[in-house]
């Protein structure tokens, strides 16, 4: 595919950051008169030109509805949409396109599994196992299911470093557990869970596992077959694609056994008032006109990140993380929350006597965008006895200079609060 970005396939050992950053025009803008330092990637990543242009091109020359018309544009749109599914299938190393369901995002994907697989398989007295690290989107759908079914939501605790206590996780996988739902990477702390090992533990007891990959996909190569994940979900917007679209990967055997999520057009083979025959995978789960442009944009985002060697990306992000943690930890009165042995590019921190919200406002005036609050992970905050943290999160386009700007900004926060 011809891209409009300036990056081409890389075989280098370090990232050409100047060139990469030119592909993300927003990174060169000013905020409050200062160059933008975008460190809120865990909330949403920025979009490169090839993604923006693919969506524009789609609407300019290729748009119609999918799977319906016999006319040229409908075939063209269907082709693009299904090609995007193929791109995602390769990206996750899934077995087949039938296992790739387009949804609105990771949240909808989890709700889909809870409402279909969950409703069929979880009954009164059964258990669903999650971890203490989860984002609200991997807590609430299961809580709703458990309430409806009179089932029990069990939570595997974390240690002080922010790592799931594996012995406890194993112990909580019981005969009553019908599904375990675990995050691959914690959005609040950056902890990388040993999901492959955790899946093995669950599978030894015959328990299927859903992995929330929303925070993992931008940072590491995902191979759902190697992980042996039964379900794997992620959102496009965190991996440099558009908002409003995401992916549910499910093993075909599970997806086939599950009832549809929503009824409507496209998910049927035939409809009479007496009976509807549902469509085959993946269409059974895609009622209504999908976000076609979103799928096209997501595929363009995947093509873009595939230009880079994942090892080089990981190395760069780990270097940013190491540098940021070292520099921030050296500031007196600043405490890093979450010190797992394995972390993705997320640094959560608090400062003595200064609320994270004030840190966020002051950094913003320096053009530095971080997230402050509970990060939709209130149980994690509760675990540490704090209401909120300030969180800087990195993407591969971030630079060492931006870390320096963050550190300088944090020192300015201390100065304003008179804590010099």
């Amino acid at each position: 595919m011809k891209t409009t970005g300036i990056m081409t396939k890389q075989t280098v050992f370090s990232l050409p950051l100047n060139q990469i950053r030119k592909d993300f025009p927003i990174l060169s803008t000013n905020v409050h008169g200062k160059p933008l330092v975008y460190l809120d990637n865990a909330a949403s990543a920025q979009k490169p030109l090839p993604v923006i242009d693919a969506i524009r091109r789609y609407y300019l020359t290729e748009h119609s509805n999918v799977h319906r018309g016999v006319h040229y544009l409908s075939e063209r749109a269907t082709g693009k949409y299904e090609a995007a599914r193929s791109t995602v299938k390769k990206f996750l190393n899934a077995d087949s396109e039938r296992e790739i369901i387009f949804v609105r995002g990771a949240t909808e994907a989890i709700n889909l599994v809870a409402a279909t697989f969950g409703r069929v398989n979880v009954q009164a007295g059964d258990e669903v196992l999650i971890t203490e690290l989860e984002h609200h989107s991997n807590i609430v759908p299961w809580q709703m299911l458990c309430e409806e079914k009179n089932a029990l939501l069990r939570v595997a605790p974390i240690n002080d470093r922010g790592e799931v206590i594996l012995e406890e996780f194993d112990r909580l996988l019981s005969k009553k557990t019908k599904i375990a739902a675990i995050s691959h990477v914690s959005n609040a702390l950056g902890t990388v869970n040993p999901v492959k090992h955790m899946i093995e533990m669950a599978h030894r007891k015959g328990i299927p596992v859903l992995v929330d990959g929303a925070q993992a996909v931008p940072h590491m190569r995902i191979d759902v077959r190697d992980l042996d994940a039964d379900f794997y979900v992620f959102s496009s917007h965190k991996v440099f694609g558009p908002t409003g679209i995401g992916i549910l990967y499910g093993k075909a055997g599970f997806l086939e056994s599950m009832p549809p999520y929503q009824g409507g057009g496209d998910m049927i083979k035939s409809v009479t008032f007496e009976k509807t025959i549902f469509n085959d995978l993946p269409y059974k789960f895609e009622a209504g006109t999908p976000d076609i442009a979103g799928a096209v944009g997501l595929a363009a985002a995947i093509d873009y990140i595939n230009l880079f060697d994942w090892h080089v990306v990981e190395q760069h992000e780990q270097e940013l993380l190491r540098h940021a943690q070292e520099k921030l930890a050296a500031i007196s009165g600043l405490h890093i929350i979450g010190e797992a042995a394995e972390k993705a590019g997320v640094v959560s921190f608090i400062m003595d006597g200064i609320h994270p919200h004030d840190i966020g406002t002051i950094l913003d005036q320096d053009g530095i965008a971080i997230r402050t609050g509970h990060h939709c992970a209130q149980p994690v905050m509760k675990r540490y006895g704090i209401p909120a943290t300030a969180r800087a999160s990195f993407a591969f386009y971030n630079t060492r200079e931006e870390i320096e700007a963050l550190v300088k900004g944090v020192l300015n926060v201390k100065e304003i609060f008179g804590h010099v």
């Binding site: 409050h32 008169g33 200062k34 006597g353 200064i354 609320h355 994270p356 919200h357 004030d358 406002t361 002051i362 005036q365 320096d366 402050t372 609050g373 509970h374 905050m381 209401p387 909120a388 304003i416 609060f417 008179g418």
Partner: protein, 152 residues
């Protein structure tokens, strides 16, 4: 420009009330108390009022949150002590206009006294709800509404 905005927001009086909040205690014999919560940032306060007919005899608060919300609650408690219900509601309106940057604040900066320190908040739309959370909570307490206030 931005540094000036920051200085206008984090005035010494706000930093002082954040560090040493006044009337920061639980009131066991309160006539009413209401919780205020800002789910986005986790600011969480309880406002206690002791009413003597129409007059606020005592006002105190507890909880945690950012400097703006804590200073707002603290300054509010010093301003409203001894005021009547009607006066408290007037101050509520004045404060509202002030932090939203609406010029008809119904009083000059002199008249606003300590509250004038919050004028800088109007330059930070995301922080307006921090400043007004304690005030909304106080108003509900005055009106004896029991449900938790949420500024979202």
């Amino acid at each position: 420009m931005s540094d000036l905005n920051l200085k206008a927001l984090y005035q010494e009086i706000i930093l002082d009330h954040n560090r040493n909040p006044r009337n920061f205690k639980k009131m066991d014999d309160a006539s009413c108390s209401v919780d205020g919560y800002n789910p986005l940032c986790g600011d969480h306060y309880t406002i206690f009022l002791k009413l003597d007919h129409d007059i606020i005899r005592e006002i105190s608060f507890q909880g945690s949150g950012c400097a703006i919300s804590k200073a707002s609650a603290s300054v509010m408690s010093t301003v409203l002590k001894g005021k009547t219900r009607a006066e408290a509601e007037e101050w509520f309106e004045k404060f509202h206009h002030l932090v939203r940057g609406e010029s008809n604040s119904g009083g000059s900066m002199d008249e606003l006294g300590k509250l004038a320190a919050f004028a800088g908040v109007s330059e930070f739309p995301a922080r307006v709800k921090c400043a007004i959370l304690p005030w909304h909570t106080m108003k509900n307490a005055l009106e004896e509404k029991k449900e938790t206030v949420s500024t979202e």
